[in-house]
Subunit: 199 residues, 2 copies
Amino acid sequence: MEKLATRGRPREFDTDVALAEALRLFWQKGYEGTSLTDLTDAMGITRPSLYAAFGNKETLFRRALDLYEKDKLAYIGEAVEAPTARAVAETLLLGSVDVATGGECRGCMGVISMVGCQSVEPSIRDDVNARAESAKQLIVDRMQRAIDAGEFAVPTSATAITRYLLALMQGISVQAQSGASRSELLEVAESALLSWPSR
Amino acid sequence: MEKLATRGRPREFDTDVALAEALRLFWQKGYEGTSLTDLTDAMGITRPSLYAAFGNKETLFRRALDLYEKDKLAYIGEAVEAPTARAVAETLLLGSVDVATGGECRGCMGVISMVGCQSVEPSIRDDVNARAESAKQLIVDRMQRAIDAGEFAVPTSATAITRYLLALMQGISVQAQSGASRSELLEVAESALLSWPSR
DNA sequence: GCTTTTCCATACCTATAGGTATAGAACTTT
DNA sequence: AAAGTTCTATACCTATAGGTATGGAAAAGC
């Protein structure tokens, strides 16, 4: 990905560290709310260095999303490995609480980007929506397997139960952003799990 | 609220119409995503007219929020009048689907503002959060009455069940923004109601 | 009809946005 | 050590942001 130069003066900063810092900013302030000055200040590099290393603001944002998915959304991939639909739901809900309240950044960056980037350049919006869609598909497929296995008492559809779960996760993110505590959000997850419709 | 001038040349535009147009824009593009040029173009007035009529962008936004609450969030006030907690939940969930997919603007403006204004001037953020908090309190009080009336089978708390409901409504809004259809969102509401924990 | 008040239109202000040209310094390879 | 790269620093570019000064036109009250 990174064309690592063998000749010439080597880069003086660590792109991984810089990218992590960019992620922090985009997560906290959103794509449009984060200016290049914010970025270069926090990353400790100058404007031309940023452009040489990352192209432009949009590709930097995409790289930050990549890092976010890898570091923070791993729980989704793990969740769909769980043995039952109920266990999947539990992992997803608790995972979203963890991400939304675990660090210094509140809420899920995906949700923040989905809500905040609808009026932004289509290329970014489409990218964000596509990422969300592929995560959704993972869960839909898993839920379909659970339905086929007869796990659900009430008749339902894989897409319906998935959208229901995602709605809760998204709501958890929204509330985390407006200041809800970890324990308050765990109550939300528990409420959902208490009346979860599969055995 | 509006100091209506008796002397001098009367205003040539209808402030209510103009405000409705401003609401549309803020709803679609968010506070920061809506520029004064966007506003004046859509409202059909000039910049000084906007400032004379509404003060500045921030107060215009607050006025738009007022209008939004009055026109679009009335269902919340109606919901808490419903006879049972289950009926309250049903009214809230279906109402949020209606608002999120009813017109040309997708999602709930409150959610959009909560997510989009966290990094914006504190005065706006605090206002948005306060509005959300007061709506929440309405539901908490109603749920407490339902608990006191013994409506819930499973032991729960008014704040937990309220946050759970709000999470669903917020998730519905997020999904509406990223393109979910009305019928898809109705599935979310139905999924929640099918396993609603009160009789 | 005159005065006064308020409106609208144009043009402008400062600050900041994202992005880049230029030039010199620093490092690697040969 | 010299040559060849690629870095960083500074300064700048254009576009747009929110907001305002100014002047002339229009409608009300007297």
